[in-house]
């Protein structure tokens, strides 16, 4: 496990030195500033817009990083063969995977926190105060981080056995599918076929349910999120990531490098 931490910290260091990351974060902060402007135009929803636009920016940027850099974590090392010297060290393949995962999630958490700070600054600027109900925004941001961790795990999984392009498509596709999981369950009432209905229902539980983590509307209107949901979402993310990472470790352990 300690070796996984070594890999994780190096992954984090790589991200920190990657200028692309800073540009993306800067862009997100720009969006948040724009939110203040937009709020002036839209009547009655000045604060709502800051929260919705701000959280959307955080989510979109986070997703871009999670998918593209997530897929690159393993692909880049295999392409550039930096992996060869590393795996010749006494480090196991699963430790490598876990380390990469940890490093990127750490990076994402810090980036997201920075962008969230931007949202709060914007909110304060417009409202000249911060209220207890703003705590929900923090929770929304935390859920975004959980969601991103899951996306990173999926990106790692796919990149461990397909080409980078396909891995990006599969990961993005699964993310989108994961937004419609609840629709899948109601789907069964529309179709006549019982078999199809139960298959879809079964599938809907297997697919990663990203809808669980969407609390943007709740945060935008200052309502509260029950603590039980926070706990359950955390457990869901941890468990699902565990499943995906185990599969990734097993696949990667058997993979012949070029």
């Amino acid at each position: 496990m300690k070796r996984a931490a070594v890999v994780a910290l190096n992954t984090f260091r790589e991200a920190v030195r990657d200028r692309v990351l800073y540009n993306l974060v800067f862009f997100a902060l720009l969006m948040i500033a724009a939110a203040i402007l937009v709020g002036q135009i839209s009547i009655g929803i000045e604060e709502t817009v800051i929260v919705t636009l701000g959280l959307s920016a955080v989510s979109v940027i986070g997703l871009l990083i999670a998918i593209f850099i997530g897929v690159g974590l393993v692909s880049k090392e295999m392409d550039k063969r930096t992996l060869y010297a590393l795996l010749a060290k006494p480090v196991r393949r699963w430790e490598f995977i876990v380390g990469k995962f940890g490093g990127l999630v750490l990076t994402l958490a810090i980036n997201t926190a920075a962008m969230a700070a931007g949202v709060f600054v914007a909110l304060y600027y417009v409202r000249h105060s911060l209220q207890r109900s703003d705590l929900t925004i923090l929770i929304a941001v935390y859920f975004i981080v959980l969601k991103l961790a899951l996306v990173v795990a999926l990106a790692l999984l796919f990149s461990s056995f397909t080409t980078p392009l396909l891995a990006i498509l599969y990961t993005a596709g699964l993310y989108i599918a994961g937004q419609f999981v609840e629709e899948m369950r109601t789907f069964q009432s529309l179709t006549g076929s019982h078999a199809l209905a139960s298959f879809t229902k079964w599938l809907s539980y297997l697919l990663p349910n990203f809808e669980n983590f969407n609390v943007m509307a709740i945060a935008a209107h200052g309502r509260s999120v029950p603590a039980s949901l926070i706990l359950q979402n955390t457990l869901y993310a941890v468990l699902y990531c565990g499943i995906v990472l185990s599969a990734t470790a097993v696949i990667f352990s058997r993979r012949n490098l070029k």
């Binding site: 709502t48 919705t52 636009l53 309502r223």
Partner: protein
């Protein structure tokens, strides 16, 4: 040497280019303004479809559509166009994307129900929207107020109006007047005092400037009604005393029954019409407002 040449060339070309663009854009804008009918389009009418496409960004899209609603309505009003047929679909999409966007329901309630030119003249749509809002936000007492409003002012269903106010009065945070209104409407049906009170509530509590302006218009007209009623009462008294109907306001004033010249809220003096009843001055802009908002009766029944 070449470097300088190309930079100089750029410095000349850029402003010329942009001048051209500027002129071109103006003429394009003029053309598009002429075709402004086509701007009135909502390419995606299905609220479900929009929600699906928005993925988890639905609340943000709701904000975008809400901005469109305000813009659309403001545009129509400025152009004095009566057709606001896109109002309902836009509000439908907005509230589907974010069922908790309270302001959208309230705006819709007002401007869907009000008769043209102020609104769409579809109180049924207003009610439908509010009922949706209540389902998504059951503790929002103000929706019930809005509901009662529509039943009272537009559909004239006083039983339903009273019921709505009553139910709303039970919700947390509801103002006491909800209960009072429920009782009053149940007892009296429509009355000037009730109408003034309700519009005044809207005027003082709303944060939406469009709604506020609308409420102000209504209040002015209601004040006209109220003033006219008072003047008519004076005229009746005059008739009783002097045996004939007064034909000019000056007669009422000279008789001493009326102290000072009665003016409407914009400062125009009231006049007495042919039937001896008080009317707005022909010069008063409120007259136009009054004429526009009269589908049926001119004034409420006097109880």
């Amino acid at each position: 040497m070449n470097n300088w040449k190309s930079i100089a060339g750029l410095l000349i070309f850029l402003p010329l280019g942009y001048a051209g663009i500027w002129k071109l854009q103006h003429s394009i804008d003029a053309q598009r303004a002429a075709l402004h009918q086509e701007q009135d389009d909502l390419s995606l009418r299905s609220a479900k479809m929009v929600k699906a496409i928005s993925l988890e960004y639905a609340p943000l899209m709701a904000d975008v559509y809400w901005t469109r609603v305000v813009q659309y309505y403001g545009d129509k009003t400025a152009r004095r166009e009566r057709n606001v047929e896109l109002l309902w679909p836009l509000l439908d999409i907005t509230t589907t994307l974010d069922p908790q966007l309270i302001v959208a329901y309230r705006f819709g309630a007002t401007f869907l129900s009000e008769p043209p030119p102020r609104g769409a003249g579809r109180p049924d749509q207003g009610v439908a929207l509010l009922e949706r809002g209540i389902q998504a936000n059951p503790d929002e007492w103000q929706f019930f107020g809005d509901l009662g409003f529509i039943y009272y002012f537009e559909t004239k269903d006083y039983a339903k109006a009273s019921a709505a106010f009553l139910e709303g009065s039970k919700k947390p945070g509801a103002m006491i007047w909800m209960k009072i209104m429920a009782a009053r409407i149940a007892a009296e049906g429509e009355s000037l005092a009730t109408s003034i009170f309700l519009w005044n509530e809207v005027y003082t509590t709303t944060t939406d400037p469009t709604i506020k302006k609308n409420a102000e218009k209504h209040l002015r007209l209601l004040k006209v009604e109220q003033d006219c009623k008072l003047i008519d009462a004076v005229a009746d008294e005059y008739e009783k005393r002097f045996g004939r109907r007064a034909t000019r306001m000056s007669e009422l004033i000279q008789s001493g029954l009326l102290r000072g010249e009665p003016v409407d809220s914009l400062g125009y003096s009231y006049v007495l019409g042919e039937d001896g009843k008080a009317e707005l001055n022909l010069d008063s802009p409120l007259l136009e407002e009054q004429l526009l908002s009269q589908p049926k009766k001119k004034s409420p029944e006097v109880h």
